[in-house]
């Protein structure tokens, strides 16, 4: 056991600390912030007003130049051109979080499309898409789920036909967040209707201003999480917008899906939320008694803290396994989505319970605590328990791939 990053990282650590000191309190110019729940989800406290102002894209540029984001992405595609270094990533994340300096942009373009293109894209596609995506000039949304293809994603039916050198796409996607703000969608489309279901899918890039695309906001139980449905009516894009070969879409998509699942419940965000809860329990009262002084609340708090501490330690073990190739934590990676989303839902539910009637307040109500983020996050994480492979599907995966248990036997009839 060695929790030090080693002497070779000391300089880097200092550099990052200096950077954070310089930019502490940085804030973004002229940007709407209508979804202040994203702070709650990521566990960070709401950003305070400050002296330094930059635009989002200036900030993105600064971070790329320092190699604090897009580190391992080649210079020719607009990245920093360094090597993947998980410890450096961790140092950056930790110091940024400590100093409350904002990180780089996220989103499905940067987190999912860029790694996908680096692995599967043609040289032209890399040249064309990666740089603007990294710099926040090209926002992407994801077109995977369909109303009838949820847990059974591979049964998706959105159809793509190659007609005169163009893909003509018809069908419907759901759970597409940021569709309204996106320039592009990466989309799974059934192009080989005769093939077995997993090998009939292609991965196609679609400009969102293509005629025939209709975006309808999909209201969800939080009333504010911002998903959409996207409808395609003879949407026509050039043949070269396919990534990899026809029918390889399932493999392309799966190469980065794992990453998404793990990131749904970051243990550090959970720890931050726990701390928010603890502070609130010290401040709020019932009949003049602090919430934290009520033993049954406190006992539940301690139970949740135990789970959060276990999760945090576990994430260190996973980090370690990435740096130390001999360390096998295969099962440990598989459980992250299941355990993390359930824990977060439990934590937010505890916060609601200790707040009592106050905990039921929402939207712009007076007496709202933490912007009503406990209710929002409680529901949002129920959504995450369901989304990204329901936790029932996760248990299948854990038992089959993690524990080597047999798959469900094939069935003779659909009932």
């Amino acid at each position: 056991m060695d929790l030090n990053y080693g002497a070779e990282y000391e300089d880097f650590h200092k550099e990052v600390q200096a950077f954070c000191k310089e930019y502490q309190g940085v804030s973004f110019k002229s940007e709407s912030n209508d979804n202040n729940m994203s702070d709650a989800l990521s566990g960070s406290s709401a950003t305070k007003k400050s002296k330094k102002e930059v635009t989002r894209s200036e900030w993105q540029q600064i971070l790329i130049e320092k190699g604090y984001i897009a580190r391992a992405i080649p210079k020719e595609y607009g990245g920093y051109g360094g090597e993947t270094d998980i410890i450096k990533s961790r140092i950056i994340a930790t110091e940024f979080s400590k100093a409350k300096v904002p990180g780089g942009m996220g989103g499905q373009g940067i987190d999912m499309l860029v790694p996908t293109l680096l692995e599967w894209g043609s040289e032209e596609q890399k040249q064309k898409y990666i740089r603007p995506t990294l710099h926040g000039e090209m926002i992407w949304c994801q077109g995977y789920s369909e109303p009838n293809a949820g847990s059974d994603l591979a049964s998706l039916q959105t159809k793509g036909e190659l007609i005169d050198g163009n893909w003509v796409i018809n069908g419907q996607k759901i759970w597409t967040s940021t569709a309204q703000y996106s320039q592009m969608m990466f989309c799974l489309v059934r192009t080989e209707p005769q093939a077995p279901k997993h090998s009939g899918i292609s991965f196609i890039l679609i400009p969102m201003d293509t005629p025939g695309i209709e975006i309808r906001p999909l209201v969800d139980m939080t009333l504010k999480a911002g998903f959409n449905e996207v409808f395609f009516d003879d949407v026509t894009v050039p043949e070269e917008n396919i990534v990899a070969k026809r029918g390889e879409g399932w493999s392309v998509a799966n190469s980065v899906l794992g990453h998404e699942r793990g990131s749904l419940a970051d243990p550090n965000a959970t720890m931050n939320r726990l701390n928010t809860l603890i502070n609130m329990m010290k401040e709020q009262t019932i009949d003049g008694r602090r919430l934290i002084d009520i033993p049954s609340y406190r006992d539940r708090l301690m139970q949740v803290q135990g789970k959060v501490m276990a999760s945090q330690a576990h994430s260190l073990r996973l980090l370690s396994s990435k740096i130390n190739p001999g360390q096998n934590v295969k099962l440990g990676g598989m459980i992250q989505k299941l355990v993390g989303t359930e824990l977060r839902h439990e934590l937010e539910g505890l916060a609601i319970d200790v707040l009592g009637e106050i905990g039921t307040l929402y939207e712009d109500s007076p007496y709202l605590k933490e912007d009503g983020s406990f209710q929002f996050t409680y529901m949002y994480f129920l959504g995450l328990i369901i989304g990204g492979g329901t936790n029932q599907i996760q248990k299948n995966i854990i038992s089959e791939r993690g524990l080597g248990m047999p798959k469900e036997p094939k069935i003779t009839e659909a009932s």
Binding site: G150, V219, D220, M221, H345, G349, G356, Y362, G383, S415
Partner: protein, 364 residues
């Protein structure tokens, strides 16, 4: 010996359920929750009042139906099962019970018939009597009330508010009193109203029977808790029904998802935990009506236990619905949120369990 709802009670419940099924689909609930159609809201309200739910607990001598709390429970189950977007627990249960138990003869003669004719509606604020948040609470002195009442229920367009001080003295205030300021609170459950009252020297009309008898306020509280438990039970019942029928329809992997053992077991677990709650609830209401010595403990345990079961049901039923359960399309979340609010009203499970222990003399 018969343990259960009587035929009349079941019938009453069926009327409520049928009315809601016929008139209050998810689309209507959504409109009302969003405040988009006040006319519709009023129509639904009148429709339910026409069934007589307001008159249930008013004694016959005052023109009411003279029914017991068990009948109100039958109705509340129905309202919960269809997320009935109307006042009930406060206006038509707690208020008539309080006036009947603690009102002077004049007050009874004045207010109870008005409840039956629905000329007068009562908002009810007993939260601070249970557990004061945000340093709220009301002082009562020389006929004047000062302070703050939070989480007042059924208060939209109320003609009076029924409030309590910390000692359990119940009194009425008039919303038109100049010293009374009303602020709307927004909860996750927008099917019911939720208010804050600020009182400055507001004239208070005390219900005299409550002045030297703290048992009255407790009794009113018991009734409210049993009714919220009934509402959550009804809502849970519907969530399970919806989950089971969705699971029988929805196909994934070439099978209806209801044929997957994981989904079947989730449904079986919900049903198994909910099933004994019916009897528990009815027994609590029956004791309220006939066995006062056992009523308080049963009311506490019914509220806290059913709240826990309902929370579990609200989660699992949503999970069975998959992504659809998370959307507003099916509107399942209205039930989820109804259960969420009921859970906290008049005390969350931990607080009520502590009361249950106290009633039994367990915590010295």
């Amino acid at each position: 010996m018969f343990f259960g709802l009587s035929e009349e009670q079941e019938q009453f419940q069926d009327y409520v359920k049928k009315f809601l099924a016929d008139n209050v689909t998810v689309d209507e609930i959504r409109k009302i929750a969003n405040g988009e159609d006040e006319a519709l809201a009023k129509e639904i309200y009148s429709g339910l009042i026409n069934l007589g739910i307001n008159a249930l607990l008013v004694p016959e001598e005052h023109g009411g139906l003279g029914a017991g709390l068990l009948s109100a429970v039958a109705v509340a189950q129905g309202l919960g099962s269809g997320v009935g977007p109307i006042p009930f627990a406060g206006a038509y249960v707690m208020a008539p019970i309080a006036i009947n138990l603690a009102g002077s003869d004049e007050q009874k003669a004045k207010y109870l018939p008005q409840i039956v004719s629905n000329e007068t509606k009562f908002g009810v604020g007993l939260s601070e009597y249970v557990a004061a948040r945000e340093d709220a609470g009301i002082d009562l002195a020389s006929g004047k009330a000062n302070g703050k009442a939070l989480f007042v229920i059924d208060g939209d367009e109320a003609d009076y508010f029924l409030l309590s001080n910390k000692g359990g003295v119940l009194f009425l205030v008039d919303p038109k009193d100049k010293g009374l300021e009303i602020t709307k609170l927004t909860s996750v459950d927008k099917t019911r109203s939720y208010l804050e009252l600020n009182l400055k020297n507001v004239a208070a009309e005390v219900l005299p029977g409550s002045e030297n008898n703290p048992e009255i306020a407790k009794k009113v509280l018991d009734a409210g808790r049993i009714i919220f438990a009934a509402d959550s039970l009804g809502a849970s019942e519907t969530m399970i029904e919806k989950a089971v029928s969705y699971a029988k329809e929805r196909k994934q992997f070439n099978r209806v998802i209801g044929s997957f053992q994981a989904v079947k077991h989730m449904c079986a677990e919900m049903a198994s935990d909910l099933e004994p709650c019916y009897a528990m609830l009815w027994q609590a209401a029956h004791s309220f009506d006939h066995e006062p010595d056992e009523a308080r403990l049963q009311a506490c345990q019914a509220k806290s236990h059913i709240s826990e079961v309902a929370k579990m049901v609200s989660k699992k039923a949503t999970e069975v619905h998959g992504g659809m359960g998370f959307t507003d399309l099916l509107g399942l979340h209205y039930w989820f949120k109804r259960i969420g609010l009921n859970r906290q009203l008049l005390g969350g499970p931990e607080l009520i369990r502590e009361e249950a222990a106290e009633i039994q003399g367990f915590n010295q």
